[in-house]
């Protein structure tokens, strides 16, 4: 075998920490921020209470939990659904008693994929899953609020569209709480066959300390780690959780905006969730784009007045871009900004009053993001390592996780990111073009959509009706 420079260097680097072991550093690197005290447990599983807000660059920013884990699973064939439902609920209720639903405690969100509904409760799913009113009207046929994931124009052809029955999201400032949650739900529970574990982290830099993503990337020795700004909330250097860019309260609920019809009210208080894994080319981002270009790419090409090295860039309702502005930018600069393009579909066009009387003003963000950085490549563990392309070497990426009222609503946002705007305008870009925002440094490896039932129906939804 010919000895190449790459092989020799790979040998030299063998002492670097593998993706699995790197998370053992988290305990030593992170310290938990102070958090507001307990809040009541909401009907919604996807909402976390006790979220601290801080001001950065004069912009109000939510401080997300530091540690995240997603565990996916399939329901073992032949499972007694009602017994499994009772058992999972018993385990979740025990966690509820032990931890507050806050970053200081433990956020637990159980989401269910179409394979579960198709395999285990197909008839009930047909009659009970919410229907996407907007998509049904436009396509002139019934469209479920929960859709199979699709590959988007900028996705690689080999992006895996997953078929998990369920996904459990665990979030906390304390990694011990996340561990406890994972064990409490899965250990010794025969009805669930785990398919993957995905781990990650976010934030930790607002106090001026080196952030968790920066520390973890350096410790793992991933390419470009040194280029991440010291206090960056995420690897790509910009803050993603400013309050104005995050859906607030119940806006992402199935019922709030009228995007979906919930025929039996079973999913009232629920939402849909998209989960994907995206690799991030940090060297490509920081060496190929200077700060001004990164701002243009992340936000919009004509954005001015951003302080050099700022990490939080205001995206309030009055900063929202319209389709025409995005199109003008495309023709003028040959580029679209990531945020600007998505805003054409992710922000409210008109004032809306929710069923609970909450008023949502035009320009309000709808999606509730819960994404986090990772060194998984692509997962921390997989039951199908070959299909998933598992590697022991750590790699910079993001487990992208977002709550939208319907799967189609997420699809609209993601298409806008690729230049397919809500009014049908298509702003075409060649593959990997620098002009299409973040996409040139992102590669999506996996996708799946889920429905997140309300807390009352979080365990094996519809099984009690079967």
């Amino acid at each position: 075998m010919r000895l190449t420079r790459r092989r020799l260097l790979a040998g030299a680097a063998a002492g670097a920490v593998g993706a699995g072991g790197i998370y053992e550093l988290v305990d030593r690197l992170a310290s938990s921020p102070k958090r507001p005290v307990v809040v009541r447990r909401p009907r919604e599983q996807h909402l976390l209470g006790g979220m601290e807000t801080i001001s950065d660059e004069g912009v109000e920013v939510l401080v997300p939990p530091l540690h995240h884990r997603v565990m996916t699973a399939r329901v073992r064939p032949g499972t007694d659904l009602r017994a499994a439902q009772a058992e999972l609920e018993r385990r979740l209720a025990a966690l509820d008693r032990r931890f507050d639903p806050t970053p200081a405690g433990l956020g637990v969100t159980v989401a269910w994929g179409l394979p579960y509904f198709r395999r285990h409760v197909p008839e009930l799913a047909r009659t009970h899953l919410p229907v996407d009113v907007r998509a049904t009207r436009e396509r002139n046929r019934p469209v479920s609020a929960l859709l199979d994931a699709v590959r988007f124009p900028s996705d690689p052809k080999d992006t895996v569209l997953e078929d998990n029955d369920l996904a459990v999201l665990l979030r906390s400032d304390d990694p011990g709480h996340v561990d406890a949650g994972a064990k409490a739900i899965f250990d010794g529970f025969d009805a669930l066959e785990q398919t993957s574990t995905r781990r990650g982290f976010v934030g930790g830099g607002f106090s001026g300390r080196q952030s968790l993503p920066k520390q973890m990337a350096l410790a793992a020795g991933v390419a470009g780690a040194e280029l991440i700004p010291d206090t960056a909330q995420l690897f790509l250097g910009f803050t993603s959780t400013q309050r104005a860019a995050m859906g607030q309260g119940r806006i992402a609920n199935v019922e709030t905006l009228g995007y979906a019809r919930d025929p039996h009210g079973y999913f009232h208080g629920g939402t849909t969730m998209h989960l994907s894994h995206v690799r991030e080319d940090l060297e490509g981002w920081y060496l190929n784009f200077d700060f001004a270009q990164r701002v243009s790419t992340a936000f919009r090409p004509d954005l001015e007045g951003v302080r050099r090295d700022a990490q939080t860039v205001r995206q309030s309702p009055r900063d929202v871009s319209s389709e025409r502005q995005v199109e003008r930018g495309y023709h003028r600069f040959g580029a679209i900004g990531h945020s600007a393009a998505i805003q054409t579909s992710s922000r409210l066009r008109q004032r809306h009053v929710g069923p609970d009387g909450t008023v949502y003003e035009p320009g309000t963000a709808i999606p509730q993001r819960a994404d986090f950085n990772t060194l998984d490549n692509p997962f921390a563990w997989s039951s199908q390592p070959k299909r998933d392309g598992m590697s022991r070497s750590p790699a910079a990426g993001v487990h992208f996780l977002v709550f939208n009222p319907t799967s189609d609503d997420f699809h609209r946002n993601r298409l806008a990111m690729d230049g397919v705007l809500p009014d049908g305008t298509k702003l075409a870009f060649p593959p990997d073009s620098r002009g299409q925002g973040f996409n040139s440094v992102l590669k999506t490896t996996h996708r799946q959509n889920f429905v997140v039932p309300p807390r009352a129906h979080r365990s094996f939804p519809l099984a009690e009706l079967a």
Partner: protein
């Protein structure tokens, strides 16, 4: 523009020894680099650098240490770019490229009689429409390196032949000089910075022939 070279196993082993040595070990060899710098531009390389200095009528910097397999010889096996523009600015590049293994690429530049960061043209072609805009050739300053009378600014986002390079730029006697290295497999940013630090320490000024 690029030449593909295949390196012998012995040369590779030497290269790996250097790479594997990392930043800490780099400090250990610093005296050798300093000694080389004190000793002046190596005899086998001096003629080329002196010729360049004479062509541009200004001093140039000769590297007395470069990452293996480079030897710093203008016109040598690894020197693939030797260019002087009408404004007397120069670009000397060294490239080692092995398909499937990776690449080493080091550039040295000089801009006689001017110290401002030059402008480059950013070309963006989308759907057959080409847009050109002027941008700084070197941007995103992230720090300084001060060695042997040189105060170099570290730039991480650079253009043209220095795209995807980390670049050190400094001023001397009314002129701007740069040294850059490509961050490419199998090298990491950290290793490239270590290489640049060592090359910077090894630079010696070569003046035009009188």
């Amino acid at each position: 523009m690029r030449k593909i070279g295949v390196v012998s196993l012995a040369v590779l082993a030497a290269a790996v020894a250097l790479v594997a040595s990392g930043c800490g070990a780099d400090r250990a060899v610093e005296p050798a680099a300093k000694a080389a710098a004190r000793a002046g531009c190596p005899a086998h390389a001096l003629a080329g650098w002196r010729r360049l200095a004479s062509r541009i009528h200004a001093p140039v910097y000769c590297p007395t240490w470069m990452p293996d397999p480079f030897d710093g010889v203008i016109g040598g096996q690894w020197n693939t770019i030797d260019s002087v523009s009408p404004d007397r600015s120069y670009l000397v590049g060294f490239i080692w490229l092995e398909a499937g293994s990776g690449e080493l690429h080091v550039n040295l530049r000089g801009y006689p009689g001017r110290t401002r960061v030059p402008s480059c043209v950013d070309v963006n072609t989308v759907n057959g429409v080409t847009r050109r805009s002027k941008i700084p050739c070197f941007s995103d300053p992230t720090g300084h390196r001060r060695v042997a009378g040189i105060d170099a600014t570290v730039y991480t986002a650079n253009q043209d032949a220095d795209r995807w390079h980390v670049l050190y730029a400094w001023r001397h006697d009314g002129s701007l000089y740069t040294l850059s290295q490509h961050v490419a497999v199998p090298l990491t940013y950290r290793k490239v910075v270590a290489d640049l630090d060592r090359m910077l320490r090894s630079l010696v000024l070569v003046r035009p022939s009188s």
